[in-house]
Symmetry: C2
DNA sequence: TTGTAAGCGTTATCAG
DNA sequence: CTGATAACGCTTACAA
């Protein structure tokens, strides 16, 4: 910056101003500065800027998993809101483990991120203490927590799961099974919603119809195998996560089970795939994109505009009834 | 840090040393410092550290698209190598547009990233100038460029495409079509490989059998429609990207076309899905995970160990012959 | 509108 | 092994 200032014949302060608040510098001077900048190939040091001004332009995002394509929509939406505002994204994986999340949050606070998006909604006391102590805006994403740390942009896993189960009940299915991923706080909420709906519909819950399966298509294969073995009279299965529903459908095709005649299948997320298999799979349209957009907007409102936006946004969901039920 | 130093009864310098090089501080003092740190809930400021030491612990990653699940494997692998080394990941999208990439690179250099991973291999002269000027290690990823900026960890799109096409020719297919995504430098390389292979196999290229399609499953539908209209005697189609092959297979199923009897289908990437549809789809196993791992390792070797690692790694690929061909 | 001085929180360097 | 001092490159606050 020193050299730029010399070449432009101004002080470093004027260079700084020309870069950050161009309107506060006379046009002639501004142009001279820009000229010098490009001539020297000068690159502004945002590190020094952040340190000095105590404002950073980096947002941290903590995801449960980097491999799950479900999150790519959210990441994309966050990035799309952040970029035009001049903000950048740091990404980390917490694997739904509170200890890992703690380390990641500490690292992000060390980097002085301007705000944080957490997909997880279960945090260790130490994480919460750090977050509150850091005094930065935080948005939680993966579910609607009972005690938000700060802001929330999500839908309710429980409500979504309950709604889909009731939908199946209303369609006349009497023996509904539930397949979900193990060791996942969101899956646990979905199970609660499922059980609530069963009760509401007057169905008796049956542990034989509850199964935890692996991630990926194979999870669907496992679900069907379990149903055949433990509860062959099941007439519908709600696959509450990932691509399990597709795996289940493909397995039914393989076995020659008619869908939905022999077994109806409903999915949680509405991945593009759900519309393309045969029959297309009934699914929940979740606001994955909207969650990202709103999260980023909420953070920017606090950081840039110093507003106090609504602390919580329940972005809802929608049931897409298709041929599989 | 000041307060920590006071509470521990040492200078700030000693606190700094206890944090960064614990072995250089007497155990007794070190423990006192750590005690003070946790008592005060002190969080080290990495910004100031980076500024002062002129070393950052952030790596920038530039992807062509954040929505494409293909990249999640690479991101995951990079993150897994970086985390234990104490490095963090910044993510940005360049949409295969050199101008956007330029802005993203400038932003990352502004943030003083310690190294950069670029999935794209076509860069504007300005980008290249910035990158060389910044004097940081760079790994290119998406293809094997003819003029690497610095290091490369990839496979060759052209070679992979050529190999798969030759594979189809060897299987006896005579009228092979090629479906790919438009406006994508990697797709262009794949097309070259395809044409090379045709020539090598003694087939005459036929423009009626070349089609650019949309992203997603619908691309496959488009490919089949194009084949039926323009070149119905086609006996195999190589779907060179995304999930096009699955879309094509589903469309064939819908039309009652036998696969591979009426039309053989080969895919580029081997997504999990390829193994689960019926028939399973012949595909290229690309080293998506390995690319991420090697990229991160190459960067760390340069940044942390100050080694000069091999400048280029061709990570190869593999043909997975399955029922669809 | 521009410049001066002080300081952001850390580490490199050198002395003790 | 520890401490004093001067940076790192920028911005805030104030003065001109």
């Amino acid at each position: 910056m020193h050299e730029v200032a010399e070449l432009a014949g101004v002080s470093r302060m004027t260079v700084s101003r020309a870069l950050n608040h161009p309107e506060k510098v006379k046009e002639k001077v501004r142009l001279r500065v820009f000229e010098a900048v490009s001539q020297l190939g000068y690159v502004h040091n945002h590190l020094a800027r952040s340190l000095s001004s105590n404002r950073s332009n980096v947002i941290g995002l903590v995801l449960p998993s980097l491999e799950n394509s479900i999150f790519s929509q959210t990441v994309k939406a966050i990035s799309d809101v952040l970029r035009p505002a001049g903000f950048h994204l740091m990404l980390a994986e917490a694997t739904d483990d509170a200890k890992v999340e703690e380390a990641v949050i500490a690292a992000f606070i060390s980097q002085r991120v301007a705000g944080l998006v957490l997909h997880g909604t279960q945090h260790s006391p130490a994480s919460i203490r750090m977050l509150k102590g850091a005094n930065i805006p935080v948005v939680e994403n993966g579910d609607i927590p009972t005690e938000p740390i700060d802001m929330v942009a999500s839908y309710s896993n429980r409500a979504a799961s309950r709604a889909m189960t009731l939908h199946l009940a209303r369609l006349g299915y009497k023996k509904i099974a539930f397949a979900s991923l193990a060791n996942n706080p969101r899956a646990a909420e979905r199970q609660i919603g499922f059980l609530e709906a069963l009760e509401e519909a007057g169905h008796k819950p049956d542990p034989r119809r509850m199964v935890a399966v692996s991630r990926g298509f194979v999870g669907g294969t496992e679900a069907i195998a379990h149903i055949e073995q433990s509860a062959p009279d099941t007439d519908a299965v709600f696959c509450a996560g990932d691509v399990i529903a597709v795996g289940a459908l493909l397995e039914c095709n393989r076995r020659g089970w008619d869908v939905p005649g022999r077994l109806a299948i409903a999915s949680y997320d509405d991945l593009e795939l759900m519309r393309h298999v045969n029959p297309p799979i009934t699914a929940l349209r979740l606001p994955r994109h909207e969650i990202g957009r709103r999260s980023a907007e909420m953070l920017l409102a606090r950081i840039v505009d110093r507003e106090l936006p609504a602390r919580s946004a329940d972005l809802g969901f929608e049931i897409l009834q298709r041929g599989s039920t």
